[in-house]
């Protein structure tokens, strides 16, 4: 029987794939494993226990940092998704014109600029504003996170818009829908999976950020990742593993919710 070419049948394919998957997931597996360690150490496993999870839940610093992380991520994701949706509409629902490519570049530039550069720039910029205004709340972190989340929210929304049949919006207009109603009843419902994907991506990216947060935060504004980084400088206990495991569960949960919602509306 004639077989079509398949890369899966090439020699060594399975081995390489296995090595890649091990490299990706073995460290995470070890981390999760040791979060259930009954002992103090990260080197020797002394039986299964949930004590480090309990310890994490009792640690006020962890609770504060987690809530702060969620607050920042939620706010930044919402604002950046709204901005990204408007940007995506403005760059796809228009005749191509000179400078459109430049606009794509501007919207996506935070993906290209090294994070550390943005971090230092924001540190200096916000320091100046702080001395002018005297305000030193969470607003700076939210603003910074919103800024670097926009391209992540923008990409899936734009992809969705580009794949959408433009005739549908014409049909809506033909059936007496004003431009706003056509958007509300046709474009938006069809765009929704893209918006949700953009939001989830922005949320996870914000939740995870260390570099920019480390530079921008004021005293007492630790997010969960910067708190963990701080703790690692001192004694390392399986408590960090437990927190990481919970973090992992949260992101798996977010991705799963997204997958289910996205599959329902095609």
């Amino acid at each position: 029987m004639a077989r079509t070419f398949s890369i899966r049948r090439q020699r060594g394919f399975t081995a390489i794939a296995m090595i890649c998957f091990f490299a990706l997931y073995l460290p995470i597996g070890v981390l999760v494993f040791y979060s259930f360690n009954a002992g103090q150490s990260l080197a020797s496993f002394e039986g299964v226990s949930l004590r480090w999870f309990q310890k994490a839940f009792e640690n006020q610093h962890v609770i504060d940092a987690s809530l702060r992380s969620l607050q920042i991520a939620m706010t930044a994701a919402i604002i950046s998704t709204v901005a990204a949706t408007m940007a995506a509409l403005a760059t796809t629902r228009t005749e191509p014109y000179r400078g459109l490519t430049l606009k794509y570049a501007f919207i996506n530039q935070p993906l290209m600029i090294p994070e550390i550069v943005t971090a230092v720039a924001l540190l200096i910029f916000f320091a100046r504003i702080k001395t002018w205004t005297g305000y030193s709340g969470l607003g700076y972190l939210i603003a910074a996170h919103t800024a670097f989340c926009i391209p992540f929210a923008y990409l899936p929304i734009r992809a969705r818009l580009e794949n959408m049949d433009l005739t549908l919006e014409k049909a809506a207009a033909d059936l007496y829908a004003t431009p706003w109603k056509a958007f509300r009843y046709v474009t938006l419902p069809l765009l929704w999976p893209g918006i949700l994907a953009g939001f989830m991506l922005a949320f996870v990216i914000s939740l995870d950020d260390v570099v920019i947060t480390e530079f921008v935060k004021s005293a007492g504004q630790d997010t969960l990742p910067t708190y963990m980084l701080g703790q690692l400088r001192r004694a390392i206990t399986p408590e960090m593993n437990a927190i990481s495991t919970l973090f992992l569960l949260l992101s798996i949960g977010v991705v799963t919710v997204f997958f289910i919602v996205n599959r329902k509306r095609v």
Partner: protein, 369 residues
């Protein structure tokens, strides 16, 4: 038809639509005027790129004319946005809303117009019945077949009771059998609703079978408007004659004209009697058109029966009839003719045979220009 002060359903007045600028400017619709009557099935027919779809989009409001007026029941709608025009479209791709059910799709226009809920419900039910889709009201549009999607698209466009229904090659995605059914269905819907239909197609057979009147378009211009019989029997020019059905063109010289019948001397077929177009006076070089079904094969060299002779080059069997391609004695012109197949009759002639061609009386026609 009495020509009282009846208002046209749609009147296109000197409309042009130019795309691009400067040396790249291109008139998709070129200073065109046409008047479409109330309650008629009007077809815009032409090859792709002739401007028929652009003209339809100008009426729908998806494009705006560069110049000229578009009157809808006497009101100039040329600059009106599409959502204000009492005109609905059946799109080539149907463009059904994938996130809505069949019933929601059909009710969309009425909901946008802000009609009361009960009225929308009644109207949707009536439309579902009209297109025989009652059983599938709650289905998603992705869960129904192409033919059913076509019906939903029709019902959706008819539900708001537009003054004019625009149909952009709506049958082109359907297979042959379904297409034939939908042609009949469309005629029935038009008769039942009494709405003016403007139908765009490149399929001349579809145009001939369905239309009250046809406008043949080429290069942004309307070349001829008439009922199917006029378009087929009395094509205004060579393009129309060539585009609608198969046609033979014979060059000749008018010898005399008597009461609208010209005697044309042709090199290939001797003297042919050909009908002159109305109000057409010409002498000298003309072209005579002859439809393939108005000629038949005969044994060659029978004076008085056969006007022409040549070599049978090609025999194509079509079931209902057989097409013959005959290379005439000048070795250049290929004459096409079509004979209906009779029961129990085998092939009378074979490829390579020398054959004669007999032309029916009153079949030939002199072409304007």
């Amino acid at each position: 038809m009495p020509h009282m002060a009846e208002l046209s359903a749609v009147e296109i007045r000197n409309v042009s639509k130019v795309f691009g600028f400067g040396e790249f400017a291109f008139a998709a619709v070129d200073n065109t005027s046409v008047s479409i009557r109330q309650n008629e099935f009007f077809t815009l027919l032409g090859p792709s790129g002739c401007g028929k779809t652009t003209l339809l989009r100008l009426i729908a409001g998806f494009e705006f004319p560069t110049s000229g007026d578009i009157m809808l029941s006497g009101e100039n709608i040329a600059a009106m946005p599409p959502f204000k025009r009492p005109v609905n479209t059946v799109f080539q791709s149907y463009a059904l809303f994938p996130h809505m059910t069949v019933a929601e799709n059909i009710g969309f226009g009425l909901n946008m117009l802000g009609r009361p809920k009960q009225e929308v419900r009644d109207r949707v039910a009536a439309m579902l019945k009209l297109v025989r889709m009652e059983a599938l009201a709650g289905r998603r549009t992705s869960q129904i077949s192409g033919g059913q999607q076509q019906r939903v698209a029709l019902a959706r466009a008819l539900a708001p009771q537009p003054k004019v229904l625009l149909l952009d090659e709506p049958l082109s995605a359907l297979d042959y059998k379904l297409r034939k059914d939908m042609q009949i269905e469309l005629k029935r819907l038009q008769a039942e609703t009494g709405i003016t239909f403007i139908f765009v197609t490149h399929d001349q057979e579809e145009a001939l079978t369905m239309s009250d009147r046809i406008a043949v378009m080429s290069s942004g211009k309307i070349l001829q408007v008439g009922n199917p019989r006029e378009i087929y029997d009395a094509p205004a020019d060579r393009f129309v004659a060539d585009f609608i059905g198969e046609t033979n063109f014979l060059k000749g010289r008018i010898a005399s004209v008597d009461n609208g019948i010209a005697s044309v001397e042709t090199a290939m077929a001797g003297v042919i009697s050909a009908t002159m177009p109305k109000d057409f006076n010409a002498d000298g070089e003309v072209t005579v058109v002859l439809r393939p079904e108005h000629a038949s094969l005969c044994p060659p060299d029978q004076p008085g029966v056969c006007q022409m002779s040549g070599t049978l080059e090609n025999v194509v069997y079509f079931g209902t009839d057989t097409h013959y391609h005959v290379r005439l004695s000048d070795n250049e012109t290929v004459f096409t003719l079509r004979e209906q197949n009779k029961p129990l009759q085998g092939a009378r002639f074979a490829e390579g045979d020398r054959v004669g061609i007999a032309i029916e009386a009153n079949a030939a026609r002199v072409l304007r220009n």
